[in-house]
């Protein structure tokens, strides 16, 4: 990788590599070089922003085009619910092995009944849906940007900086399983929340040795106006890089982010407010960027 050093400073980054960089798919060392180049090169920054804006525009057009023809979710949900309870009933009565293709003789009648349910339920739900949504949004806006310390004190594995810096991409991203996600939400008393509006975030990020443990996870809102999940993601990435560059030791980074991540952000970015993701693109404006 060292031989790229000289190249990067005067050669522009290819479109392809810019896309991979935006998705966190470059190796740590390569990413550092690309970021250094981006920080100094207006041209590449502009190209990256242009590509991201284009995907965002397309995502919007795609939705605006298809969403009007999509029926409300209520009917489909009722249908699925009926089919699932039918499947569960079959599996508890020991028939499971025989119905792996759902080709049971009474499927048609289940469908007919479910359709009827769906129509009735659909009517009722549409009437109530507006109020329901408002309630959910209110719950989010009250959510604090920092976790409840007694529920989420932060848990880390015993690892060295070397382990952390040689982690594969998947390990750094650390997807939380749907079951655990559900548990975390229940622990925080969130019900009926819209799933896209918060991230089940690691307090100590996997990239800093954080554990997939309920004591290290909490629901973090994307909606908080200033200190939200995306800002924390930026801090995690920054700390990971500092640890790997030997500028901060791992245990200090873990302690700082677990104690008060906002204070840690201010300390390591030398700023009292979230930076507009300066040398990188403005990620919060790009709705298609993945959540993790």
């Amino acid at each position: 990788m060292l031989r790229h050093d000289a190249q990067v400073s005067d050669t522009h980054v290819s479109d392809q590599e810019l896309l991979l960089a935006a998705d966190g798919e470059l190796s740590t060392s390569r990413r550092a070089l690309v970021q250094a180049h981006l920080a100094a090169c207006w041209n590449c920054r502009a190209r990256m922003a242009e590509m991201e804006a284009t995907i965002a525009d397309f995502a919007r057009a795609h939705r605006e085009n298809l969403d009007p023809q999509m029926p409300p979710i209520d009917g489909a949900r009722a249908l699925l619910r009926a089919q699932l309870s039918q499947l569960s009933a079959q599996s508890t009565s020991g028939l499971w092995q025989r119905v792996s293709h759902l080709a049971t003789p009474d499927r048609a009648s289940v469908l007919a009944f479910a359709m009827l349910l769906a129509v009735i339920a659909g009517g009722l739900l549409i009437r109530n849906s507006v109020r329901g949504e408002k309630r959910t949004t209110a719950a989010f806006s009250q959510m604090s940007p920092v976790p409840n310390r007694s529920l989420t004190p932060g848990v880390a594995r015993i690892v060295s900086a070397n382990d952390v810096c040689s982690m594969a991409h998947e390990e750094v991203v650390g997807e939380v399983s749907p079951l655990l996600r559900e548990k975390v939400l229940r622990e925080y008393g969130i019900v009926n929340a819209h799933p896209g509006e918060y991230e089940i975030d690691y307090l100590i990020a996997p990239g800093l040795g954080g554990e997939e443990d309920i004591r290290n996870l909490w629901p973090e809102s994307y909606q908080s106006p200033t200190w939200n999940a995306r800002v924390k993601d930026a801090l995690e990435e920054h700390l990971h890089e500092m640890v790997c560059a030997g500028q901060v030791d791992l245990s200090t980074a873990q302690r700082d982010i677990a104690t008060d991540w906002i204070a840690a952000y201010k300390k390591y970015f030398h700023s009292d407010r979230p930076l507009p993701l300066s040398s990188r693109v403005e990620i919060e404006k790009v709705p298609w960027l993945p959540e993790s």
Partner: protein, 193 residues
Amino acid sequence: MTQADSIRRLFLPSIADLVKPSEIERQVLELFEQWRSPLLRYALSFGIPIHDAEEVVQESFLALFRHLQLRRSEKNLRAWIFRVTHNLALKQRYANQRYIDRSSADEADSKASFAEETLDPAPNPEEHLSAAQRRRRLLAVVEALPETDQECLRLRAEGLRYREIADVVGISLGSVSISLTRSLARLVRADGR
């Protein structure tokens, strides 16, 4: 996972399946809230009618239920279910085409010429395009792309990571980024940016 859970998973998978179907049901229903719209949009983009697309999505979630009930891997369920929808939508489209082979060929012709009309003449950068015009133009450019490129772009628009896209479409990570780079270059050009 509690210790009891892991013991059950190790030694008594079949009994665990029987005991806890309701938890899996709840999990599937929760994921349905989250993924139904993206999956329905994705299914629709294969050009199948809305009622077929809805059925494809329902089938995908039933498959997810079976997948979870059989205690298969829960790693990256999002890519997994998009792949199921992808395959079912393709299958559905193939089934539909067998019935309407001739008429759809005519339709495809007229669609193609529509795409050309809306793309031509080349946009003048100084010309002010309304939001609706820009939208139509973007969509027309996308429709004219090779199928795999369209799929990659649509999956990206639904927020999937490159690795997930590669998994759903069945191509390599490198091919995904090449495809998207190519599509984006075209979109940028058509948009007169």
